[in-house]
């Protein structure tokens, strides 16, 4: 399998950036399949066959003692030592990676040494993972996809922006917590720069942020369309699905369908839609399995409202 080789040709800047930014611990497999020193090579051969892996670290109490590779197994089969314990035949001359190493450095190890995998240790010398070139490819693909999404978010359709007129469409990605809040921050900045009252801006920001977060947390992705006129700000959040089964329930405070992971980040408290409605002068929601969810919020810029 080929991996991006630093220094050979010119890898795109974006990939270079990723390689320097990503740490080994973010990329490695943490699901470790290990054996102990007393396990026989036969047993390790079976583990390799079952788990479809080509190297097994020999680990006891998180301490790394050696590595049995498929070459060691082949040698053992040839020499008739396959029933002997791992400790007699494992490789103990290993090159290990520090989990906080940047990926760029780890990749140079792949080029320097002809190993297919490197055990990864933390600062206490405990094994925390294993890094293969496959892990690197998967991580890079994943990061590049995220980066593409990000670039899409940044390509905002900017049709008209003068005094208190603006029309923009922001793209929001599913689970894109990285860019969550970008649309609301942009809208807020626009109003602030034009001297709109803080209490009004706050209501717009709350509505925009809640609708944006709803798309990040619950939808398959969507758009936030913002129109600002001297008299009002209108925000339309349209997503591509999956739709809300019971809109009345969703409008109640404390009712949520968010999973635990999302709740642990402080979202999904079931307050998003009620919050947005509370700060709005006009609020309309429609949702279906086929069309996804569309929420329209209008906030008049010259009219205070309780709850802002």
């Amino acid at each position: 399998m080929d991996i991006v080789a630093l220094g050979s040709g010119n890898p795109p800047l974006l990939i270079l950036e990723l390689l320097i930014r990503l740490k080994v611990r973010e990329v490695m497999s943490t699901h470790l399949i290990t054996a102990t020193r007393r396990d026989t090579l036969r047993r390790i051969q079976n583990i390799m066959k079952e788990m479809r892996i080509t190297g097994v670290p020999i680990v006891e109490h998180r301490r790394l003692f050696g590595l049995v590779s498929i070459d060691d197994i082949i040698n053992a089969l040839e020499n008739g030592t396959i029933e002997e314990p791992a400790e007699k035949h494992m490789s103990t001359h290993m090159v290990v990676l520090d989990e906080n190493m940047p990926l760029s450095l780890a990749i140079s190890y792949f080029r320097k040494f002809s190993f297919g995998r490197f055990p990864v240790l933390n600062k206490d010398n405990e094994i925390t993972g294993i890094l293969t070139s496959r892990d690197i490819n998967v991580a890079l693909l994943h990061e590049l996809t995220l980066e593409l999404d990000r670039m899409e978010t940044r390509t905002v359709t900017d049709l008209k922006t003068d005094d208190l007129h603006m029309f923009k469409v922001y793209h929001v990605g599913k689970y894109d917590f990285e860019n969550a809040g970008k649309a609301s921050t942009d809208i807020k900045r626009f109003l602030k720069n034009r001297g709109v009252a803080a209490s009004i801006i706050r209501r717009v920001a709350v509505a925009a942020y809640e609708l944006e977060m709803n798309q990040v947390v619950h939808s398959d992705g969507g758009t936030i369309t913002c129109r600002i006129e001297p008299a009002y700000t209108e925000i339309i959040a349209q997503d591509t699905g999956p739709g809300i089964d019971n809109v009345d329930e969703a409008m109640k405070e404390g009712i949520t369908t968010a999973n635990e992971w999302i709740q642990s980040m402080g979202f999904g408290a079931g307050m998003g839609l009620p919050n947005a409605k509370r700060v709005a002068n006009e609020f309309h929601i429609e949702s279906s399995r086929e069309e996804g969810t569309k929420v329209r919020v209008l906030i008049r810029l010259n009219e205070q409202k309780e709850g802002g």
Partner: protein, 108 residues
């Protein structure tokens, strides 16, 4: 009270706007709840150490975040705080104790 007045009491992680006013506090780990109820120039007392917390604090005009229970702070959170002029503090205390300490500072 200014954010600089908090520096003696809590660990300073980043102080991009030391002169920002702190006039109260809001203690919550639910970001939607913070959106709904926190006031301008409040300090947010929370354990939510990720960059979305900064976005919420900035959107409602809060001046500082105080992270409790010595929560580790991801780099991108500190970067976001620097960008949004949100002062970032940390303490080993829990949210209750931190709220009490902030109250005492505000009353002093």
């Amino acid at each position: 009270m200014k954010c600089t007045d908090l520096t003696g009491e809590f660990e300073v992680l980043i102080l991009p706007a030391p002169e920002s006013e702190v006039s109260g506090g809001y203690t919550s780990d639910l970001l939607s709840d913070v959106m709904a109820h926190a006031r301008q120039n409040d300090a947010l007392i929370t354990i939510q150490s990720h960059k979305n917390t900064v976005a919420v604090a900035a959107l409602v005009g809060m001046s500082a975040i105080i992270l409790c229970n010595s929560r580790p702070v991801p780099d991108d959170m500190a970067e976001a705080a620097a960008q949004e002029d949100i002062n970032l503090f940390r303490t080993p205390d829990n949210q209750f104790e931190t709220s009490c300490r902030l109250r005492r500072l505000l009353d002093a």
